[in-house]
Chain length 706, copies 2
């Protein structure tokens, strides 16, 4: 059901960008009014524009209707009436079968209080009538496909094949002013506003299905539904690259974002993990955002990742090589044939190794030959042409040569024609062929890097998380134990929770009497470990609440002794019993930590790291949104910097990484099955040569979600 | 002596930039010749230009002399004669008292072989006559102070107060073309070429002493003399900021740089440490290079580091806040008074917290008021004005308001007037007042960050390394021990070397017989540790070559046993004896590693880190060029990510950081005193609550330097 409704929604959404008829509800010719600005901006629209305003018969020459019901088939209604009147318009739209409604009017969720209630009303109406509702509190929507500028902004986009959505309307106006000056075009531009109904995932899906969209750009301050975002992005980015700037990355930025949009964004860790898992390319700043877009829009996909550099300037050639060293790419090693051909073609003082230095007195012919030979090398997947101005070099002719070489070899080429005024004309030639030009070699290489990353993402196989056969009912029973507590925390006494999900735990259990402790111990071979179980005593070792290596015969006494110590330490501590556990040799293993917390947007977020100093002092951790696939769990184990210790570095026995990784997957399943688990820590999760074993557990449960 | 000669050299160097008479040696009117290009470029020179060419009486209208001796007082001779003839010209210049010679001619060191010899000849002649020799193999020198363009490049710089030197001539031509287009001016521009005599340190010193130079920019692929560079930079940067791009940072880049200039650059770690210790601001790429220069040239120094942001656009405000979060700066917290004043001045839906959002309908007046109130706040040391284009906002008027506000408050302001065409005119207004404007908030904030870093550097007190009272002769004796070896390595048998420099070592020594071992043990309280001493056995523990906790009575037997084991393991191993050492409790301490290697440019480079996994797997290390001051040694201990373990994290006893830091200083003195020490590792250097103790040592010595 969900799937079907999404599909049809997505079809309708595409009608939003190429409508036959657009209505402006609240149209007016009053100077300075938003309704006038939109109507004026719609002048260039290929389709028909109608005005809706019960008090007028025509507005600025457009036919005017009293309401949407009276207007002929409307594909898109843009709404600028006062906030109190918007709900009625949405209802009218629903009744009249208008599929897309763009609410420009502000004063809803972002204003708080009554506004938030009114916004919910809009959402409910949109759902009731199956209307695609964009906004409220947005700049509007534009599409160069149909020349539709249904915004109140000062400029219209140039045509292009990059789709752009933004949670900031001001950013759109700023970008358009810059882009028009820089000849950078867009297919569609959407101001997301409050994202009350239609959100980033809806537009990403629609653009992903659209043949004319080469790149999706998203300026986001939050993601409405992390899981849906990931699932949709995985499909979309298997063909169409999605580049996102997530604003509010830092603590200060997140605060500012929250006061800007009223949205509570989740943790940066969750966004980082979620975007990575989704296959979304993340730009760190505005410049990367458009640099990446340019490269992804215009360049062919690289087949291999070696970079060839051809330059007439030693220094800038070195800078370019540094930039490659900083990237995920590497300098191509030329084949012998390439070197021979370069030796033949270039003067004796030229450098025929990569970066190829054609020397300062090179003309276009020499440059052209070197580029041709370089691009013909099998190890070269992409190239950077770096040129400093000289008397011998005609930049425009070089631009033509670069365009021709890219076309012939079908490999992506970017350029650093360095300079000012003299670069302008050749830059236009390059840009028209989809080749970006930069002064700074670092930007050129970073753009190729994004292109290569997109190529990797299109090849990525996500797979689906394994579904283990678990005892869900037993797990639910254990979690329900929290309802008998004053706090909503559970500890070692809930170790069976892990057992129910197939995560190995040591033999033993929690005893509530010396006799029960002796019984539990009898089931275990040899000496045991005993720990006081109390939600009020956090640092058990500090108060002597842990006994390691208790012989079977002393278990009963040890029970009494542990309880006495706990009472002495804190007379009113709630004592749930004593944990009796098989004595595990922790010397010959690696202690790891597996944790979960719950992100407001992305849901359960898994954390993995090595125990003690690694997590606490070195902050050596990695995160993934749960549930995770086998590949993702494996990657978590490899991602941490301390990973070599798991592989047996420094004379250690390598741990059973398959067993450890399976624990990650199983825990992912557990926390996905039970949204009631708000936080959970398995610490330590002992990894050894032949197993992984959870030794301790602490979790926070929301009883209302059980 | 050194000092005096540097001073006078530096005075002469300043004459290079403001000469009365310039001679072009090798002047010609032949089309396409470098000699013609330079003569033509000198057209705009305020002083007198003369040609030197024995075959001509005048060239292009300039008086021509047969040699420098015949020409009237020449301040700068620019030399373009063939390589073989250059030495004679330099000699002539010396004889004629010409203080500055710029050798443009190529084919010297960079060509290798004979060229390198010829270059050395130039260096010797320059030293003999006290001539400042620039180049060879350079583009030339220009100075806008006197309109002198003594280069063969295609463009002359615009006037400015930024001095620029570059190891790449092509980069200069590229930069000038861009800079002239961007209205970015320079005072002096120097193409360093092969830096045979005059190098980056000489020019940095000269510009540091020059009142008209606001900023020194250096594009470098290597530094000739690291120590001199550091010492000079410390003086210079206490007033004048020095921004450097060091190219060849990455492994691939270093290779490319070496093939470009023939220079062997030292390790990136050394440059990183050296530049930091020198107070040099490092730009990672071309864009940062000029962004930083612009900010440092035109903006006042901030008094405090809080950033105030004023914007009419929520989203871009959030991006700016993120950029501040990424930087070393922080968002200012406003005082109550500021908030009250903003509440009074702004509409109800504005945000009066930082970032201040004046809302999209703001006009210039509202912006101006908000900026004025923000800059008046005591916690605000600098501000970013972020503006998106709106119908209400006049960018030019806003530019005037920003210029006025900066002038009134004396605090640095940078702007992000976002947009394209409409930004151009206001940008000129801002730039003229020294205020840089960027589309990307990240660049604006990074520029302020560089400005704040410069302010910190001007306040930095470097101090001088302590000189400890050490036994230098004893150390020399121990190092000479290497001459009796087949290898040039020393191990634990050289522990007295550390003792001679006051670095604590355990009691004991190396015995060459069972009897000697017993004697050594008798001097130690309790059980001892015994280790086989052999340069051929690296992993002593693996072959049972280490015995821990040997009782006094068993020392003799243990000696025999260790030697037997070593012989069994490798019959031809050279066995130097057995180390007998006091049994040190390593459980209650932190094992650290203190290492040294020798960088070709910066000399002895100290490395510090925590032992085992921290250095080897987590790569958690920090570097400094030796000798180090007390402050620098302390900083090394604090720099590593594992530093909390030294301070007593996770229930450990805090170690005696003063003792540990003193070991760093003392080792710095040792390796500075003895250039013969090529590499050295104290591993472990045990740090405990009341001492630091070197437990093992390995070093490589160059006997020829003893």
């Amino acid at each position: 059901m969900q799937e079907t409704s999404q599909r049809s929604q997505s079809d309708e959404l595409r009608r939003l960008f190429d409508p036959a008829r657009v209505a402006v509800v609240g149209a007016t010719d009053r100077e300075g009014a938003v309704g006038r600005a939109i109507l004026t901006n719609l002048d260039g629209f290929d389709g028909e524009v109608v005005a809706v305003n019960p008090k007028r018969e025509s507005v600025l020459g457009y036919a005017c209707y009293p309401d949407l019901a009276s207007a002929p088939d409307v594909d898109v209604a843009v709404v600028v009436v006062p906030p109190d009147a918007v709900a009625d318009v949405v209802r009218d739209a629903g009744e009249a079968g208008v599929p897309n409604v763009v609410v420009v009017t502000a004063g809803f969720g972002e204003a708080g209080g009554e506004g938030a209630q009114q916004e919910q009303e809009l959402v409910d109406l949109a759902a009731e009538y199956g209307v695609n509702l964009v906004g409220p509190n947005c700049l509007g929507v534009m599409s160069t496909r149909s020349g539709m500028n249904a915004t109140f902004g000062p400029s219209m986009a140039l045509p292009g094949s990059v789709a752009f959505m933004s949670q900031s309307g001001a950013f759109i106006t700023a970008v358009l002013d810059w882009a028009n000056d820089a000849d950078f075009g867009f297919s569609d531009v959407v101001s997301l506003g409050n994202k009350a109904a239609m959100d980033e995932t809806d537009f990403m899906r629609a653009w992903g299905e659209d043949e004319e969209t080469n790149v999706v750009l998203a300026y986001l301050e939050s993601v409405v539904d992390g899981r849906a975002f990931i699932d949709t992005a995985r499909e979309v980015t298997s063909e169409t690259p999605v580049v996102a700037v997530k604003s509010g990355r830092t603590e200060a930025g997140a605060q500012a974002a929250s006061s800007h949009t009223g949205a509570i964004a989740g943790s940066e860790k969750a966004y980082e993990a979620g975007f990575e898992q989704a296959g979304v390319l993340r730009a760190e700043n505005v410049q990367e955002f458009f640099d990446f877009a340019k490269a992804l829009d215009g360049l062919p996909k690289p087949e291999t990742e070696g970079v060839g550099v051809v330059t007439n300037a030693g220094g800038p050639g070195v800078m370019t090589t540094d930039a490659v060293g900083d990237s995920s790419l590497s300098m191509a090693s030329f084949g012998d044939d390439t070197r021979d051909r370069l030796l033949d073609a270039l003067p004796g003082n030229a450098n025929v190794h990569n970066p190829v230095d054609v020397i300062g007195d090179a003309d276009v012919d020499r440059f052209e030959t070197a580029l041709d030979v370089t691009l013909a090398d099998g190890g070269v997947g992409m190239a950077v042409v770096v040129a400093a101005p000289t008397a011998m070099l005609d930049y425009e002719a070089l631009a033509d040569a670069v365009v021709a070489a890219q076309a012939e070899h079908g490999k992506p080429v970017v350029t650093c024609f360095m300079g000012g005024e003299r670069v302008r004309a050749p830059e236009r030639v390059l840009n028209e062929a989809g080749i970006p030009n930069y002064f700074d070699p670092a930007r050129a290489v970073d753009s190729l890097d994004a292109l290569a990353e997109h190529a990797r993402l299109t090849d990525r196989e996500y797979g689906t998380p394994r579904e283990f056969d678990v005892d869900r009912e037993r797990a639910r029973e254990i979690l329900r134990g929290v309802t008998e507590r004053e706090s909503n925390q559970l500890g070692v006494e809930a170790m069976d929770l892990l057992d129910a999900y197939g995560i190995p735990t040591p033999q033993g259990g929690v005893a509530e009497s010396p006799g029960e402790a002796e019984e539990l111990a009898a089931d275990v071979d040899g000496d045991v470990v005993m720990k006081i179980v109390s939600p009020d005593i956090l640092h058990k070792s500090d108060i002597g609440g842990v006994k390691v290596g208790v012989p079977q015969a002393e278990v009963g006494d040890a029970y009494e002794n542990l309880v006495t110590r706990a009472r002495t330490y804190q007379s009113d501590a709630r004592i749930l019993g004593v944990q009796v556990q098989e004595l595990v040799d922790t010397e010959h293993g690696v202690e790891t930590i597996l944790g979960v917390n719950r992100d407001p947007q992305f849901g359960p977020l898994l954390m993995f790291g090595l125990g003690g100093i690694f997590v606490e002092i070195m902050e050596d951790t990695t995160f993934r949104v749960a549930p995770v696939t086998e590949r993702e769990a494996d990657e978590m184990l490899a991602d941490v910097q301390s990973a070599p210790l798991l592989r047996g570095a420094r004379g250690r026995t390598p741990v059973d990484r398959d067993a450890l990784s399976e624990c990650v997957e199983r825990l992912g399943q557990l926390v996905t099955d039970f949204p009631a688990i708000l936080e959970l820590d398995v610490n330590p999760l002992l990894a050894r040569g032949d197993e992984a074993l959870a030794l301790d557990l602490r979790l926070t449960v929301d009883p209302d979600q059980l």
